[in-house]
Symmetry: C2
Subunit: 604 residues, 2 copies
């Protein structure tokens, strides 16, 4: 059951599939809400009014920070208020960061848009027996008078133009990409819009963007329907190898899902998909190859070679994407077989390559892509961290959603105290909660440096098979207990080992140690919920001060929007892509040593 959140006064709509905090929704939608504490309910800058008021009451800290504003009237902190139904969110001016800036929590995009496509209204003299000038030449002549020379059109736009001219009675709007006519519409069109898409393995984020202002008009997410062919990238690639028809179906399914979301977003603004004048799609390399129908087998087997590592401007209809007749889809370059254009989009949005600091960028998922900027270089790698931080392969794991344990502290008695998303009873534990839990279990010595759980501690029991498990939550009122098993902890350690090995190898490649890192930027949902102190304490991240660890939410989506709306951003991304040197971890000498070291937990 999807529902819509509308942000006022900016008028951005977001289609949601599951309960979210206002802050997370705003991040997804590209709405800029102030936050100094990074969503920890400690700065009180993110005050919003929510209509209708959420069912859950504010906690004590939130109540205090609201400073007299009445929760019954809908006043809440964006980082705490959870929305699960159709809602209007009013963002007061004081809570807005710079308006009309696409941002991902502190990462702002300030360039004026340099749109690849613009719209021109034209008023033409109708043809007659004395003036049989062809349609294209008539339009080209009118464009010459507007200062556009050598206008031309491909076949699809010509086909559309012929009807538009007559339907519009020789009053049309022409979409121009340089001197190429990519669309023609009867009469005047309200605005030039495009579609930015971040095709994730699990979720597909779509943004309807004004090409004139660069503003996001609507944002909506949808589950990637390819999940029917496997949860992770590798199982999809295998499905494509088993039967090429699977590859076709996966391409078709994801594009149709995008078409569906795009049509909804367009309709909400009185537009049709045929009004989309340009698209920009980012994704990991497997997603990129699948939706571009490029053979994926070489991605699945060594040496994991992508079809190309340059950007591709392809007519949208070649992808099956509904858009203006001659509209193009810009596909930014993949970096390597396992580092995709989504990572590039993230690095672009996060401003990598633009200063001299030593910066780590992580996109944590089943595969974790890592980039390190230092000493004028950028190196990147991908590491198979597994889905533990997404709550998968964890007995009581779940995504960061309503009912998930997201924060854990363990007291001296070994009793866990948990924060649950939405404030209600716990139904499971998400990535950030798992991370907290393991850090606390280690701090309290319930697990040792190799992650072995002490079966003699309180709240630990021996399970069938003789392995211990720790009770995180004692269920009440009919809710189940939430446990963390030895197996769960092993999963977390494997993920941590892989990630940390990647980080250390990149640092080593540039001759640096962990202490050299100035800043860590983390993309993705996990990063938004992650407690930096836990991550550092656990050794998942190098030991930098927590305020230098930044979660930037769906930065790949931001990057996609930047590249959709601005040719300058495209050029910057392309230059960035050329600078990034990909490191294949499997051939790095001593990888196993790094990995074994990464798995270990710190001394208490």
């Amino acid at each position: 059951m999807s529902f819509i959140i509308e942000f006022e006064p900016i008028g951005i709509r977001l289609v949601c599939e599951e309960p979210v905090t206002v802050a997370a929704a705003a991040r997804q939608a590209g709405v800029a809400i102030r936050s100094l504490c990074g969503g920890k309910a400690s700065c009180g800058k993110c005050v919003v009014r929510v209509d209708p008021a959420p069912a859950s009451a504010p906690g004590e800290a939130e109540q205090e920070l609201l400073a007299g504003l009445d929760p019954a009237e809908g006043w809440r902190l964006a980082c705490r208020a959870v929305i699960a139904t159709e809602t209007r969110v009013y963002v007061p001016v004081d809570s807005q960061t710079e308006s009309q800036v696409i941002q991902t929590e502190g990462l702002e995009w300030r360039s004026a848009p340099q749109p690849p496509v613009r719209m021109l209204p034209l008023s033409l003299t109708p043809p007659s027996l004395d003036d049989q000038t062809s349609d294209l030449e008539r339009v080209a002549e009118a464009l010459r008078q507007e200062g556009v020379h050598d206008a031309w059109a491909g076949l699809p736009a010509l086909q559309a133009m012929r009807g538009a001219l007559r339907q519009g009675r020789w009053q049309i709007s022409v979409a121009l990409r340089g001197s190429e006519i990519v669309g023609a519409f009867p009469a005047r069109l309200p605005q030039a819009v495009g579609l930015a898409v971040d095709v994730g393995t699990t979720k597909v984020a779509c943004y309807l963007v004004s090409l004139e202002t660069g503003r996001t008009l609507s944002a909506a997410g949808v589950m990637n329907p390819q999940i029917a062919y496997g949860e992770d990238v590798m199982s999809r690639l295998e499905a494509a190898m088993v039967d090429p028809a699977n590859a076709d179906r996966m391409a078709h399914d994801v594009i149709e899902a995008i078409n569906g979301v795009a049509a909804e977003m367009c309709a909400a603004h009185g537009l049709a998909p045929e009004h989309l004048l340009e698209a920009c799609l980012v994704g990991n390399t497997a997603m990129h190859h699948l939706f571009a129908r490029l053979p994926t087998r070489p991605l699945a087997v060594a040496p994991f070679v992508p079809a190309l590592s340059s950007p591709l401007d392809v007519r949208a209809d070649r992808l099956g994407l509904r858009a203006a007749a001659g509209a193009r889809a810009h596909l930014p370059p993949p970096i390597a077989g396992f580092v995709g254009s989504d990572h590039l989009a993230f690095l672009l949005a996060a401003g990598f390559g633009e200063d001299g600091r030593v910066r780590l960028g992580l996109d944590i998922g089943t595969n974790t892509e890592i980039a390190l900027q230092a000493r004028g270089q950028i190196v990147s790698c991908s590491t198979a961290s597994g889905p533990a931080f997404e709550g998968a392969h964890i007995r009581h794991g779940m995504r960061a959603a309503l009912g998930a344990v997201e924060r854990v502290t363990i007291d001296d008695e070994g009793l866990a105290k948990c924060d649950v998303i939405g404030g209600g009873p716990a139904v499971g534990i998400c990535g950030s909660g798992i991370l907290d839990a393991v850090a606390e279990l280690r701090r309290t010595g319930i697990i040792n440096a190799r992650g072995r759980m002490d079966p003699d501690r309180p709240h630990v029991r021996l399970e069938e098979g003789g392995l211990p498990a720790y009770r995180l939550v004692r269920g009440s009122d009919g809710h189940r207990d939430v446990w963390l098993s030895q197996g769960d902890i092993d999963q977390v350690l494997l993920a941590k080992g892989a990630m940390r090995a990647g980080i250390d190898i990149l640092l080593g490649e540039l001759g640096l140690g962990p202490e050299a890192v100035d800043e860590i930027v983390i993309a993705g949902a996990f990063g938004s919920y992650l407690d930096p102190q836990s991550a550092v304490r656990l050794g998942l991240l190098p030991g930098v001060p927590p305020e230098r660890i930044h979660a930037v939410g769906n930065a790949a989506g931001t990057g996609a929007r930047m590249m959709l709306a601005s040719t300058e951003c495209r050029a910057r991304a392309q230059a960035l892509a050329r600078r990034i040197r990909y490191l294949e971890l499997t051939v790095v000498p001593g990888f196993n040593r790094y990995f074994a070291q990464g798995i270990r937990l710190p001394a208490v």
Copy 2:
């Protein structure tokens, strides 16, 4: 039942659907056979050896010109020998005009080809875990070493390249269009070939052409399957208006017909359609719009405006044309709603715009397109001449094929003597025969200057309805009589009136009279059979000496081949198209007067 004629030693194959003279077949196939008399069996230059020898014996004149060569061994004149079965034609050196020159009887194309696409074999180092360079970058790097910089590829070629690289084990052939990779093939390809097509309303002529030498490797014609939607252009346009699905079906049908012929021609050379690296399609503007799926309604109603009047390079697969993944189809510019790119191709092949002579170019059909070059200008028009010269709407009319009366003389007794194509009994009369007959009927006074037939003359009878008819052939051995009715003559006069009005209006537009014409060039089958003296005598053509009237066969096909194989020819055609000024006859003052004058027959 189609059969193949193979010309040796040039190795060109032609697929035929019906019996033809060797000379006509050679014209269609672009094989250059000498001829001084223009196919009148009087010069004896076109001696060929035919294997197997044709069933019909040579006539007396032919026998004499063979000068002792034995017809039983297959020696014949190309202009007389009719072939109706699979045959090998040997063209002796003495009977060849300059070899490897595409010609259309006296119109030769001497430029070296400047092909739009070339083929390069590449030998690549396979990727490894230490060298994960993407496919495209690997190929681009190899191309850089061959001096090709900035190589790129669109999505279809990228898709094909990925398979070709692995199938060819990193030995591939790459088809390059400028710096664009339009095809990639495992291992080496024998040669770079393309497809030229002249899409006529009735027939579609296809040519397989070497892009390296410009030579025609195969030629084949096929009936335009759109004929199911009407015989002429206007009825097809109406069918498209009645139901847009008809337009789709017509586009699909003609392209599938081309695909079928192209596949056969490719197979005969050990190639697949996917080896076609470029295509060039010409046709009248309705055909052009139909196969390009451009809306045709504006062509069918005043002011008859085409969608464009510039060339279009469109990916072949957008037309449904089978070719290399990224291959393009070049569609030369239509000139006006009723003067198509086929007329441009004809004028290009005939060298219009290249000298200072006063030249008339005619493409005679249901619509006759006329161009006049004079005084540094080129003007053109189209006139609805009707299908009389194609043998349609004539009681015993037929196409110029086996059994058709093609020459008529009437003696002092009013008795007709007829030459029949193939030498057997007459079964009907084709355009050139009709023209001869009308000229002779006028010369002998059997019809008057307004075309009325004198019912009191021998061989004339009054038919039901009270109108006279003239017996051209008295049937024997069970064959029918062939008659020419008053209605037939009226049809011819209407056609003549329309054509001559067009000619005179163009001449008047440039301030010239008929006597100013230096040369008349006639394209199409009718022109090849036409007796210039009859045409002049009838007043169909201005009175220029017969030797200045040239039939050039399928010159549009020649022009298409020129533009397929040579970018220089494309540029020349484009410049020519820009120079041609189209005259809409319906708005010319005094059109009716010109028409009435054109209908009249000359005094005897």
